[in-house]
Every structure is written in structure tokens, then in C-alpha cells.
Point group: C2
Chain length 437, copies 2
């Protein structure tokens, strides 16, 4: 008999089916045993009635949490169930009766759960978060594929640093050579955008930052679109469309998971309703200064500085929507930013701050067009010019205005799910002090 999946049971009411999965939870009451069976697509209650088959009843009663079983039974409509059905069990095959499964329904500490991440991902909430991740990734890829972008993944091994070396992981390459793990594919994306017009990279990136915050992982996934013949407003338009596309998809396909996570979906629904505010850096500074004057911020933010987490949170709290801040001081941005023609102290960059304190989820802007300017920038930043000759070629041969951004997947997933820490948004998180399991 073929396997039926739990998420398809609604189409099999009245039929005999075979389910294969694991015992999520169990309780018994007199002549009844209720098995909560999970198979990866959902959880269904399977009811064993003693008078039907005493031996089956005793077997069912003996099962420990996470035992692997094959259950035969008849699908019955059940309006009390969240999936609308339950199963009247007629047969049970025990593949393995598990005992002493370490993650019980009681509370566990974070370190214990992280040590058991390989099992923790079976839990309802973790399963929901990772299902949302699947949908965020799928939506992101579909968005770019449907909008004429060509996937051009950039290398993980890079010969030099894109934005400084202190936060780079070093790898022993062959013959005593050193390679560095990429922090961003952006410089390479500029080459692929000149080949494809619109391109994107989507892969893991690495930051050797000694940050122990709820927003940081040492290894995370980033999508980075790049467009030829594009400028700063195009970055904000594209970013806004992408976010709305993702939010809509998650709302359409992951309602059940958002319910499991107790996510306030009205906050996500609101994202789709209006335009994202776009705030000039000057204006953002004014907002922060007002916040300080009102006693709502500890520090008096000075023009020219970079936002800290409390600043980002304060700015985003002034709006219901995600908010773009644009035209940052060039000194706090990387060497490759295009400058504002009227106020060259400003970089044509834009960051998107997510609502609800989730911080920056998009960062990007327009890239410098001019060869001389870039050569001076590379010198001023003490970067090894030799390593950037190929990048400078992009300004020697067919330079065009171009722009793009990067979006971190884990922060986006955390925001969709409304969860506190990014470590739960990836199957096996890597942190400052964690390489296991």
C-alpha cells in the first residue's frame, strides 16, 4: 500500500490509507489511545479503540515519543481537528519503539536544544520556522526569475577582502596560498550584471564578527540582485517589490505555520497595503534627535554616524511600514558607492529597516561609475589595487550606471515568523561559540 501524506488526508475522507511517520505525542483514556502522528507534512490524531483489536491497543500504548511507525486506518472527518480529519486505526507496524527521547514536552534550556538541534527541528515550532524559510527562499528566487534576472552565483573562495579583512575567515588553499570566505558577492555581481543586464547571486556568506547578538550568525544566506542601467531609486523600487512579494507568498502558503508561531498576521498584511516610506539620512537624524529630546533614546545621535540597533529600532517605530533610509554619509559606507552629484559627501546608498525591531534587512545602492574616482577610493581605503584590477576593468570597458542590494534571508525569516533570534531560522546555525552538531 502506498504512503499517503498527512497534508493530503482531507482528500481521502472515508478511505483506508497508510501513513508513515513518527509519534509526536500520545495519551490514553480508558479504552482509547490517541497517537499524534507526524510525517513531516503535518500532524494527525490516530485513534486506537481497544475492543477493535486488543493486541494493537497494547502495542499503541507501549510506544515512546518519536517511535517510527506505519499506521493503517480510515480517514474520518473531524471538525475539532485543525486539519479537519482524524484516523481510525486498523493496523500498526512498529519500525522502532523509541525510548527516552531527549526533547520532552516540558521546557528545555536553549543550549540543550541547540546541542540537540538535529532532533529539535522535529518540534512544531521549529518545523514551522523552517517551513517559512523554505517559502521565503522559494519566493525570493521566483521573484528574480520571473523578473528577468539571471542567477549567477559568485565564488565562496575569494582572493581578497571586499570590505576589510578583520571580519574574514581565512582558509588554507593549495601551496601555502590563502583564500578568504566571501562576505558578499557584490563586486562579482557587477561583472555578471554587465553580462546579463540583470543578475543575482544567492548563497551562503560568512562574517567572522565577534558579535553575540540575536541578529548575528557567522554563516548566513544572502540574495544579491544587481542591475545594469539602474540607479538609487531602482534599488528601493526593487527592494520594496521583493519584500511585498515574499510577504504575500508567506501569507498565502504558510498560514498554519504562522498560527503555530502565534504570529500577529495583521502586521504582515499591513505591509502589502501601502508604500514604504523613504527617508533621507538628514531626516532620519532629525527623527533621532527628537527621540533624544523626548527622552526616548539614550544617545544624542550626531550627523555623520552610523545607526546602532536602538537607532534603527527607533526610526522604524515611527512608521508602520518597513522604511528606507537613503543618502548616507559616504564615510560610513564602502569604497564603491556612487556619490550624490550635488552633495558629494553623501553616498547613494539605501538601507531598508524592517518593522518590529528586526533591523536592517536590505542594504544597497548605486555603484561608482568613474574609473578615476574608484582608483582614488581604493588608494584612500588602503586596499591592494592589484586585487581590484579586474573590478576596475568593469569601468574601463562599457561602464554603465548600475545598482543593487543584498538581503539577508535569516533576518527576513525571523521577521516573517516574529521570532526573537535568527539562530532558529536556519537548520544548523553557526555562531561564535557553536559549530555543533
Amino acid at each position: 500500500m502506498n504512503q499517503t501524506y498527512i497534508n493530503e488526508l482531507k482528500n481521502h475522507i472515508g478511505e483506508e490509507v497508510t501513513l508513515k511517520g513518527w509519534l509526536y505525542n500520545t495519551r490514553s483514556s480508558g479504552k482509547l489511545v490517541f497517537l499524534q502522528l507526524r510525517d513531516g507534512t503535518g500532524i494527525v490524531q490516530c485513534v486506537v479503540f481497544k475492543p477493535n483489536d486488543e493486541q494493537l491497543f497494547e502495542s499503541a500504548k507501549s510506544l515512546g515519543q518519536e517511535s517510527s511507525i506505519i499506521v493503517n486506518g480510515k480517514v474520518k472527518e473531524d471538525t475539532r481537528s485543525s486539519i479537519g480529519v482524524e484516523l481510525d486505526v486498523t493496523g500498526l507496524e512498529i519500525i522502532q519503539n523509541a525510548t527516552e527521547y531527549p526533547i520532552t514536552p516540558k521546557e528545555h534550556g536553549t543550549e540543550f536544544l541547540m546541542d540537540n538541534r538535529h532532533l529539535w527541528i522535529r518540534s512544531k515550532k521549529q518545523h514551522a520556522v523552517l517551513s517559512v524559510r523554505h517559502t521565503v527562499v522559494k519566493a525570493t528566487r521566483d521573484f528574480f526569475d520571473e523578473n528577468g534576472f539571471i542567477l549567477a552565483d559568485t565564488p565562496i573562495f575569494t582572493p581578497a577582502a571586499c570590505e576589510g579583512t578583520t571580519t574574514l575567515f581565512e582558509v588554507d588553499y593549495f601551496d601555502d596560498d590563502k583564500a578568504y570566505l566571501t562576505q558578499s558577492g557584490q563586486l562579482y555581481n557587477e561583472a555578471t550584471a554587465a553580462a546579463f543586464g540583470k543578475s543575482y547571486a544567492f548563497g551562503p556568506v560568512f562574517r567572522a564578527e565577534k558579535s553575540k547578538t540575536r541578529r548575528h550568525l557567522t554563516e548566513f544566506w544572502m540574495v544579491e540582485p544587481e542591475m545594469a542601467f539602474a540607479q538609487l531609486p531602482d534599488v528601493m523600487n526593487l527592494g520594496e517589490s521583493l519584500i511585498k512579494f515574499i510577504v504575500k507568498r508567506v501569507l498565502d502558503e504558510r498560514r498554519n505555520e504562522l498560527t503555530v508561531l502565534e504570529r500577529d498576521v495583521t502586521k504582515l498584511e499591513a505591509i502589502l497595503e501601502s508604500d514604504f516610506p523613504r527617508v533621507h539620512y538628514d531626516e532620519a537624524v532629525k527623527i533621532l534627535k527628537e527621540g533624544f529630546a523626548k527622552g526616548e533614546l539614550e544617545n544624542d545621535f550626531e550627523w555623520g554616524g552610523d545607526f546602532g540597533a536602538p537607532d534603527e529600532t527607533y526610526i522604524s517605530k515611527q512608521f508602520d511600514q518597513p522604511v528606507f533610509v537613503h543618502h548616507f554619509p559616504a564615510v560610513i559606507k564602502a569604497f564603491y558607492f556612487e556619490r550624490d552629484a550635488e552633495r558629494p559627501e553623501l553616498a547613494l546608498g539605501a538601507d531598508l529597516l524592517a518593522p518590529e525591531g528586526y533591523g536592517e534587512i536590505i542594504g544597497g545602492g548605486e555603484r561608482a561609475f568613474d574609473l578615476d574616482f574608484l582608483e582614488k577610493q581604493i588608494e584612500a581605503h588602503n586596499l591592494p589595487k592589484e586585487s581590484f584590477e579586474w573590478y576596475l576593468d568593469l569601468r574601463r570597458f562599457g561602464a554603465v550606471p548600475h545598482a543593487g542590494f543584498g538581503m539577508g534571508i535569516e533576518r527576513c525569516v525571523a521577521w516573517m515568523c516574529g521570532i526573537e533570534h535568527v539562530r532558529e531560522t536556519i537548520p544548523f546555525p553557526r555562531l561564535l561559540t557553536r559549530l555543533n552538531p
Copy 2:
């Protein structure tokens, strides 16, 4: 005026449009200049007629290869053109007149082209290969997403080796700790399959092999599906369906690119027509021995050995289709393979050999179920048991028969394109002696 893309021009016959792109090639003849304009979506011939506008004519004539330009003109049907249209130029804006573009239409050596990979990808053939790659990746992801698999990407940083340490890249992690770059996400996939029923990982993997063959990269992309409640035949069924899905998609969407690459598409079309042969290792050995007897193979292959490239090529030449070889000797396979119940010296593994000498593109099988067996295997392979405790947990808590495979994307793309070397199938290849650009 908004930008029109070259791949949409057919829908704009008779209209005035604006194209933005780069000069791919140019020639002039009397009062005419023919500009081959590329914009990443295609190439179109733009015709400048001197009597219409002398200044425009002189500008057009002055342009060097890969100059960046904006061209206005009227779309005209042209049956001689491969895209069915050409452009009568009415306006030309030069963004940058490029001179001395290093990659000219003449022949260049491979090392030179690889040094200029950031520009080489603009060439017709490279553009075609990377477009096919885009479609192979998209098809692969769609296949798994449409078949109920959940994307669960596995970590790049791993604490220990999955299959021996000699081919691992070592990374300095924090506090003098060492991490290793993943060679395969498989062990982790076994955990995610137990959470999701069916899962897949799709990311870069790394092999520090000192191999300088046309089939090897140090960094490449691999897709790895894993299924709970699945066995060896399921691996072959899934692999065959995947390959056919990819081939069909490439034929449907990349005909033009295959033409550019002069690919014999009848060889790909044939893939869709019949079932893939499935050959027992014993049978494969017989084929190789016959090949040696006929003088078509240099070595007399002995039962128990692993196939070399000439062996793989010889086996695959006996069939028109990709061919699965299954039931390998356990000694040549990794520790985690399930054994054949009747002949425990055989591992329940299956490799798919691509036709036309492209070698193994899928490798997988059924994973060992039994805790005691695996503990002994880990000991026999001198692996540090401590590092595998989490993996052994998967046999302690709800073990089920499960199986999966890995498919290397670059070899698959090389095969689709009919090209010789995998280094052209990825935007920025990383090889034993190449980390640049």
C-alpha cells in the same frame, strides 16, 4: 523613455523603442554601420544609415567593442535575423566609448580567458552556458519544490569530516578552533528528512582534491535530496525523474543557447524517450571485462574495484541513455551505506553515469538503519565516534529506512551544453591553481 529588452523586441515591431546595452560587434559598409548590440537578454543588429543623420553615423562608426550605449530606433521585421527583427537607428547616446577591449573576436588561450573571466562571461558562448546553468538550477529547485521536498540547507562549516579528512579545506574558527568546509550535506540531510519526510539541500560544497581534470573544481554546487521511508529503488526513480525534468526544461527554454553551443539536441531529446538502464555492479564488471577482451579497455577491471574515468565512459557507451550502476562493493563506499541483506559485502548504492563521457552525475543510496552496525562502521573507519553521536541519535530515536543522493550541478550543465570542461559552467571557477578573478 523606458528600456525595452532585446528578447521582447518581437512584440514591438513597427514601434519606436529604447535599447540599453553594449556593442558586441560592428561593421560598416559604405553609408551603413551595423551595430551588434547586446543587453544581456540577446543581441540585435542596429542599422545606422548615413543620409539620415551624418553626425549619428560618425558617432556610431567611432565606437569600440563593448562601448556602453543607449540606442533609439524603430523595430523592423527581418527574416534573416535569428531573432526575427532589426533596429533602424534614430538616436544614439554614448555612455562610454570603450577602447582596446581585451577579448577580441580572434582566438585567445584558455589562461588568458580565465584571467579575464569577468569579461569573458559577456561572450556569446559563455553567456549561453551560464544561461543553461540558470535553467538547470531553476528546474532542479522546481522539481523538488513541486514534489513535496522542503529546502533545508546544511551548514558549510562542519566540525568533522564526513568522508575522510585529506580532501578537506580547513578554516581558522574562533579561539583557535578549526572548522572544515562541507563536502556534502548528507549526514545533516538525514536529520532534516526525519523532520520533514522529504528534504533537500542545495549549496556549494568543497573538495581539496589535487585533481587537475576537466571534471573537477575545488568549489562546486550540489543538490542533495533525502527521503524518509525510502529505499534504493526510490533513489533511482527519483534521480531518473529529476534528470528528465531538467532535460525537458532545458530543451523547452534554452533552444537558442543550445544552438549557439552547437549542441546536438537529438542526444538530449533521446533522454526523454525511454527508461534509464539499471545495471548491477556484477554486470558492470562483466561489461568491463568484455571491453578488455575486445581490446577496447587498457585495464582488466577486477571485481571489487572502483571505476576510473575510462571505465565509466566505456560502460556508458554501451547504452544510449544515462545508466545507473547499483550494488557496489561496500569496501569502496562510505561507512553509512546500508548493506544488501543477502550479500552483505554489497552496499545499497547507485551511481548515475551520464552519456557522452560526462561521468558520474548522481551518487547515492540507502543509508544504514541499524545503530550497532553504524557504531561498528565508525570504529572500523577510525572515525571519532564523539563527533557522530548526533548522527547516531537518528538511529536511536525513530529510525526509518531512508535514502537519498547528490547531484553535481556543474557536470550536469556541462553535459546539457555538450562542453568539454566544467570550468565554463560556473561564473567564477575555482581550481587547484586558480582563485582569480
